[in-house]
């Protein structure tokens, strides 16, 4: 088997693993992690299949770098939303407490 195929197949399995985790995990932070694994798998397919006998195609490499940057940007936004949602829920819960949600001394 060619080197490129080894990595591309690893990427394919990673994609499936990540997808399975995305479906079966309930916590959004874990789902975000799963999505990152899927993304890494896709990038590995792209890179593995661009691996020639003596060089790796720079074109898919550049696409992967662009993809990684976009993935990080979206992960940051997703993580911020998850935390903000948890905070908003905690604040609502605190506000509905009998003491009116005043922070303790």
């Amino acid at each position: 088997m060619v080197t490129g195929h080894v990595y591309a197949l690893t990427g394919a399995v990673l994609t499936g693993l990540g997808l399975f985790a995305f479906i079966t995990l309930r916590h959004p932070l874990r789902q975000l992690l799963a999505i990152n694994v899927v993304g890494a798998g896709i990038f590995l397919i792209l890179g593995g299949l661009g691996r020639g006998p003596d060089a790796t195609d720079p074109f898919p490499q550049a696409l992967v770098i662009t993809g990684i940057v976009v993935a990080v940007a979206l992960t940051a936004f997703g993580a911020a939303m998850i935390v903000r949602l948890a905070e908003a829920r905690a604040a609502t819960k605190a506000a509905t407490r009998p003491d009116g949600g005043k922070p303790g001394p």
Binding site: I35, I42, V70, L74
Partner: protein, 480 residues
């Protein structure tokens, strides 16, 4: 100088300017609207051979920008919608009361959406489309989050999965063909496993973004909860980019790969979406949820048109109908969300039953809602009518009576649910809370709704426009 790059560069420039301008950022829309309107007008009139390679790098490396009929129509409609929504938001701030972060970030986000949508409509490069798709999704989710964080997070997750499915398809195509350009792929595409899987994955991902039944689940909560200007942009524009990329894939890049059965799967899902969305819209108690479910139904027509375009001996009619429907929906739905936002500000509550008395208190806004509804129902004279009429013609000519029946039924159901909302406005009710709303706010939805009606009279002009460099007109790529 070319409108093709300026239509992307100018909104990006405005995005940077809003970030530098701080609190004065919102006033920049007064500059952006005429600039973008002028550029969109230029694009509509530009010669078809204005297509060019960015940086003059040849395919398959470079990226081709192309002013075809679809791009012209969608860019122009986008300019109208964002222009109107932007002016509306200038006068009637979109943020939750007192939220300075939302007040300031709304502006860079709509310019990001604007640039991303234009870039997506103009490019023929599938990877470039991935980046634009993410620009639009990012802005759309952030705008949706201004209403409901919960709905936005759900939208975000599902949109990410859609993006990755699309990206995986692009990855397979890069590896298989060493190109991601639609025009090149159309010449080399083979119906083999990798190509079919890639097309399937990309289609599935884009259908999530376009919210076609049964992948629509994220749309109603996100669109119903967002602030009115954000809902208008989401329903009018964010959903359409997925649709346009699907047009590029199914009719341009891979007509040799897609078969009649696959087209009928899309058409069938579209037909189900029309029925399901309409029935759900009828059952909604809250006004914005009704309008959001109407989007689910209206997206259905766009995909119902796929087999009709592919099956027609002369696809120009069905193609024009589909594009007319897309443009009319953009204008009418944006108008309707803006009008609904104004009505809900004045009404006692968010339910349809709370709308009583609004027809007297804010006649212009209720008129806008009514006019938009006329186009969405497909009553003559309106853009919605012309679009549906052309599609209905194509369906009957092909003997596709099932699709024809669904279209007629969808129109009837739309009439039922929109009349329910409108008649509530004419009913008696408690005195509206704040009847005084400033002029621009009333005018924006009225102008959009008026345009949705007026394009019904401009049928032949839009027909010609939609046919420019259309895939079925290209030599050798006739859709049988």
């Amino acid at each position: 100088m070319s409108p093709l790059d300026l239509l992307v560069a100018v909104p990006l420039g405005f995005m940077l300017a809003t970030l530098l301008a701080g609190r004065a950022a919102r006033w920049l829309i007064l500059l952006a609207v005429p600039a973008m309107a002028g550029l969109a007008f230029w694009l509509v009139l530009v010669s078809p051979d204005a297509a060019y390679l960015i940086g003059h790098w040849d395919l398959p490396l470079g990226i081709l920008l192309r002013p075809d009929g679809v791009a012209r129509l969608m860019v122009a409609a986008t300019a109208l919608v964002i222009g109107a929504v932007g002016l509306h938001a200038l006068v009637d701030p979109p943020e939750k009361a007192g939220n300075a972060a939302q007040a300031e970030t709304f502006w860079p986000l709509i310019y990001l959406l604007w640039a991303g949508a234009n870039a997506g409509f103009l490019t023929t490069d599938l990877f470039n489309l991935y980046v634009t798709l993410e620009m639009v999704s990012l802005a759309a989710v952030a705008l949706a989050a201004m209403g409901s964080l919960e709905a936005a997070l759900r939208y975000f997750m599902i949109a990410l999965v859609g993006s990755l499915a699309y990206l995986l398809g692009v990855a397979l195509l890069v590896a298989r063909y060493n190109t991601v350009d639609v025009t090149l792929l159309s010449q080399v595409a083979q119906p083999d496993l990798a190509t079919m899987l890639a097309l399937g994955l990309m289609t599935a991902g884009l259908l999530i973004k376009a919210a076609l039944f049964p992948m629509h689940g994220w749309l109603p909560p996100a669109h119903a909860a967002a602030p009115a200007p954000a809902s208008a942009l989401l329903s009018a524009i964010a959903v359409k980019l997925g649709f346009v990329i699907l047009l590029r894939l199914w009719f341009e890049a891979f007509p040799a790969v897609t078969g009649q059965p696959a087209l009928h799967v899309l058409g069938g899902a579209g037909a189900l979406a029309v029925i399901y969305g309409s029935v759900q819209a009828m059952r909604q108690q809250r006004l914005k949820a009704l309008v959001a479910y109407s989007t689910v139904a209206q997206v259905g027509y766009l995909f119902l048109a796929f087999p009709l375009v592919a099956g027609a001996p002369d696809p120009s009619g069905a193609w024009a109908g589909m594009m007319m429907h897309a443009v009319a929906h953009m204008l009418a739905k944006a108008s309707m969300f803006l009008a609904a936002g104004l009505m809900l500000k004045a009404a006692a509550g968010h339910r349809i039953g709370d709308l009583g008395g609004l027809a007297q208190a804010m006649p212009m806004t209720v008129t806008s809602f009514g006019l938009a509804a006329v186009s969405l129902m497909g009553l003559p004279p309106s853009g919605g009518f012309t679009g549906k009429f052309l599609l209905l013609n194509a369906a009957i000519a092909q003997g596709a009576f099932l699709y024809a029946g669904v279209m007629i039924l969808g129109g009837l159901l739309a009439a039922v649910y929109f009349f329910r909302a409108l008649s509530a406005c004419f009913g008696a009710g408690p005195a509206p809370r704040e009847p005084a709303i400033r002029g621009v706010c009333t005018a924006a939805p009225l102008v959009l709704a008026g345009l949705a009606i007026v394009i019904g009279f401009a049928g032949s002009a839009l027909d010609t426009l939609s046919a420019i460099a259309a895939p079925w007109a290209a030599p050798g790529v006739a859709a049988p």
